[in-house]
Symmetry: C2
Subunit: 481 residues, 2 copies
């Protein structure tokens, strides 16, 4: 028995990671990646890459050169400096869900999401002990014009919450405006180049393509060295190989290509290696995001990211369930805990996601939030010293004794044990006398309390006025065009 | 960044494990362990141990000598040889819940459990793809006389299911009768000495005691070298130190003492090192079994067991929730997945446990069963070879292509992806048209199907008659006394 390795999750051998890397290089050299964006093609050509139409070919030297300028660890500055975060190596962050078109109720109804829903989630992030960053597109609001919704969302992100946030990659213009708004907030565009203030999400179009919006957003954001998650969601058996080994090679090739464009456009831009690839449910050709293979891929992604010395994004509390029931949390916690334990750094969809990304459930958001707190506690090392073991106290209590009233117990129990806000720890009689509530009912109560006690964080009124002016002007321009 | 270690769960350094071991030895040498059983005291005295009243003192040499005869891996023979299992090193088993006095409904009612409930769980184990062993005391039946209930349970275990099962440690007599019944089933008592056929659960009485029943059961079962889980459930801050470091030292001392008695009574008896220790909820002085500290202890137990080259039992799908809701499965899957991933071998309470051991919920049993299947799939290594990566197929599909109708997809999807029996993978419209069911409602449907399709496994009628005769006679004797 090997005493050193106690992890039953597969640890890939160096030779296995090399094999995946070589397969990805074969794909990049011989099939190439389509970039449907003219400036991206110009950048690649200008740097001596072989380009054929919209297809770019990469050799290993190109990838290694790009990796030379990617940091393995960086800081994201928040407008409230106490809430800045670190990403990479030992530091990871939990981030809300991204892109849900619907709000799902706990009884299973869905309705299109609104800006009010969006704002409520910003308020939950602001009041959260465990969610470290505000996201972007927690939900897709239906009650604002779609072409300028990103402006409303970015404005809410910045005004309602003083934690670091995510930028928009809805279009190249949205990425540009994310930079403009960050510049208003942080003292000018030139300062941004030396100071990551937001993280933006890039997704490749599998297999082996980048859309115009995504390639354009990489260029805009990398020019100001703002961190990018370069990610994909390859569906095994549909947009990628059915076998996980092949899927990893394809997924890896796409991410390396996007990472390379980011370094050409802005050397030193922090890149987070990401994926939420998963199997395809062959009964309805849908993504099975809550499957055990998704957890395998999450762990493999963390290992591949480490192979390239990049921080990693992998799955959050992902589920295929349509209500926040036992399935939702069995799938969600399996994937969330696997990702974090395996070493992922940017945990998107940590809170609230339902039904393979179809919707956001606010009660599940709070259930997931408690899970995030539990996982962070679980991964905090126990200090093993003669002082913490304290055999003398064990001798003092002796055989058959009781530790309840010991001074050591009173001194340490508040710091030694996780204090939960939501989960029921009552005995059956007390709980049934109070109405036999399920966790989503407790969460609905907590949701009201959290929203009622929310207080808008302070912001320099001049900055708020400038942001308001910017958003108003940009919306007017968009209407005219 | 260390490329080799990718596990954020604490891996104790050798020096930290040594420090816990030394503290445990200090406890064993200087406080000792109370054994409230006269033959146990005689065995210790006869082997030269220092005994003072009912307190036994141990030195390190005693522990190391006992460890010399404990196997790190063993096989449990089932009466259907195809269903025998291996325990230790790379092999682990999922086992049902143990000791629940109530049956909890999915809406939160509880009622005392009956033999019908007990038998239903044996039938679920028999028809399970993922639960490897039948347990003992899945529930505590209220409708049979308590002093002979173990006989009814053992009989059901053996007759209704042909997988390996657990013996009884309800009393020394119950342990003796477990041996008698196994002897009827497997061809005589002498044969048992070379052939583990059941696993029995021993619990110390924390802090630092063994009850008469448990010490007696160790002696009876070890004489026939039947495997023992030597375990405890120390409540941090109540029956043990509040700090986890001290709790580990106390817990370890108790287990080592029980292991030593087993080796003195029957050298070579397989011992599984076990714990489900957890914090005490200071609001109601109850065990908080679904807490993140319970997951930390589960992982630490697996590492301590490995330090002593023993197989490990740690937590299953444990929860403090009183309904099979999102909390139940968030807590349950966090602890179950942590235990298995960290290297535990005998996963008791894998299925069905509710509300800090207060009850068994049959719908949760099935939800947990699916989770067990997912975890086993998740921990199955992906083969990384040029053949499984198959770059040629990726080239054939090319940029923007579709893998759905590829021959490789059709060939592999059934074996590459986990096939779920229970969890909902439908789209929102289909699901809501069918009644917007929650997972516990799907589980209630599956429960009926499983019980309806159950078929009693074949057994030699002469053996069944002998077992019936034994149980009937023993019950008569118990009535007379």
């Amino acid at each position: 028995m090997n005493l050193k390795i106690h992890d039953r999750m597969q640890t890939f051998k160096r030779e296995e990671l090399n094999r995946i890397h070589r397969a990805s290089m074969d794909i990049l050299e011989n099939i190439g990646i389509a970039f449907n964006e003219s400036e991206a093609l110009e950048i690649f050509e200008g740097n001596g890459f072989k380009v054929n139409g919209n297809i770019v070919f990469f050799v290993e030297r190109d990838i290694f050169r790009a990796l030379e300028t990617t940091p393995s660890h960086f800081k994201i500055k928040a407008r409230n400096p106490k809430r800045s975060v670190h990403i990479g190596e030992d530091d990871w962050v939990f981030v809300s869900t991204y892109g849900a078109p619907f709000i799902c109720s706990s009884s299973g109804e869905k309705k299109p999401a609104t800006m009010e829903d969006y704002d409520n989630i910003c308020k939950l992030v602001q009041t959260s002990k465990f969610v470290d960053m505000n996201g972007f597109k927690h939900v897709q609001p239906c009650d604002v014009p779609p072409q300028t919704a990103y402006l409303d969302m970015l404005f809410s992100n910045i005004i309602l919450c003083d934690k670091p946030y995510m930028g928009s990659t809805d279009s190249r213009q949205a990425a540009r405006d994310s930079i403009e708004m960050a510049a208003i907030l942080f003292g000018g565009k030139e300062r941004l180049k030396e100071m990551p203030v937001m993280v933006s999400l890039i997704n490749s179009l599998s297999p082996l393509q980048y859309s115009e919006e995504m390639a354009g957003s990489i260029i805009e954001l990398a020019r100001y060295r703002q961190p990018l998650v370069i990610a994909n969601m390859v569906m095994a058996g549909a947009s990628g190989p059915v076998r996980l080994a092949g899927l990893l090679a394809l997924m890896n090739a796409e991410i390396l290509a996007g990472m390379t464009l980011a370094q050409l456009a802005g050397p030193g831009t922090p890149v987070i290696y990401g994926t939420t690839s998963c199997p395809t449910n062959m009964k309805n050709i849908a993504a099975s995001v809550g499957s055990p293979e998704a957890a395998i891929i999450a762990s493999a992604a963390a290992q591949l990211a480490r192979y390239y010395k990049l921080p990693c994004r992998s799955g959050g509390s992902l589920t295929d369930a349509l209500v926040p029931d036992g399935q939702a949390m069995a799938e969600g916690s399996l994937i969330l805990a696997t990702s974090v334990r395996s070493g992922a750094h940017f945990i998107l969809h940590a809170c609230g996601m339902m039904g393979s990304y179809i919707g956001m459930n606010l009660e599940k958001w709070l259930i997931d939030e408690e899970l995030c707190g539990m996982i962070r506690r679980m991964l905090t090392p126990v200090e093993i010293t003669d002082e913490t073991i304290d055999v003398e106290s064990i001798k003092a209590v002796g055989i058959g004794g009781n530790y309840l009233m010991e001074p050591e117990t009173l001194k340490h129990y508040r710091t030694e044990f996780f204090w939960n806000d939501l989960f029921c720890k009552e005995d059956h009689n007390t709980w049934s006398r109070k109405g036999s509530k399920r966790v989503e009912e407790f969460a609905a109560d907590l949701l009201l309390r959290r929203l009622n006690t929310y207080r808008k964080p302070d912001i320099d009124p001049a900055i708020e006025a400038d942001l308001t002016e910017f958003v108003t002007r940009r919306k007017e321009q968009k209407k005219i065009r």
